[in-house]
Assembly symmetry: C2
Homo-oligomer: 135 residues x 2
């Protein structure tokens, strides 16, 4: 399988595959006599692993960590669980941060909706005034 076939099979771009190789997310493939990359099904499996891992919010560097933990030998469940806990904590923090933002935004929007004063929109005024006490 050359790079274009692998790309078609997995839905990744050729350049992305080379990029992942440069990040050591994919093993260096063997080369044919013309220097072209030649892949097997394990490479496709690895690439799909990366795609799925990305879809659950892992960064490429986290995915490399996961590959390093689990490649070849036994999967080191203890490390994997602690990895998952760290990531879950991150995700939950992000959610709660966004919920704070959501509340702030909808509060401001509510102020604007109930004010009726187009000259001093409380959405804008609140952002302008809350921090500096016009000294």
């Amino acid at each position: 399988m050359k790079i274009g076939q692998l790309a078609r099979k997995t839905g990744a771009e050729r350049q992305t595959i080379r990029y992942y190789e440069s990040l050591r997310l994919l093993d260096e493939p063997r080369r044919n006599s013309s220097g072209y990359r030649v892949y097997d099904d394990d490479a496709a499996r690895r690439l799909m692993f990366i795609k799925r891992a990305k879809s659950i919010g892992l960064t490429l560097s986290e995915i490399r960590t996961l590959i390093e933990i689990s490649v070849g030998k036994a999967n080191r469940c203890e490390e994997i669980r602690s990895f998952a806990e760290d990531k879950l904590r991150d995700v939950r923090e992000k959610i709660s941060h966004l919920q704070t933002i959501e509340k702030a935004l909808s509060d401001l929007k509510g102020l604007c909706e109930s004010s009726g004063d187009d000259l001093h929109c409380p959405f804008i005024e609140t952002l302008l005034d809350d921090c500096i006490k016009e000294n």
Copy 2:
């Protein structure tokens, strides 16, 4: 007020202030005889506006939009409310995406915890296998 004083007053870095100016988030200040930037309290207010707007999750380009909508004249509440609605939709989408990720991660972690098989960790196996049916 020179740039250093404005920086101290608002907690922004001098370079950040110049950067915001280059993005037209801050008006070009007047210059003194040596070419130094000279600011007034309105500039400080504007800078704090940017800080607060960032704290509720707005990007610099969204903040520029908000400034363009509201600067000088009446605040155009209708546009502001539609802006807020767009942003709220974004934030809610992000939250729900993260909640999906949270569920996937904790499900995988649960699989690992209840398996006891360190040789084929279901966390890794699921990511490896779900997409390609080892053809």
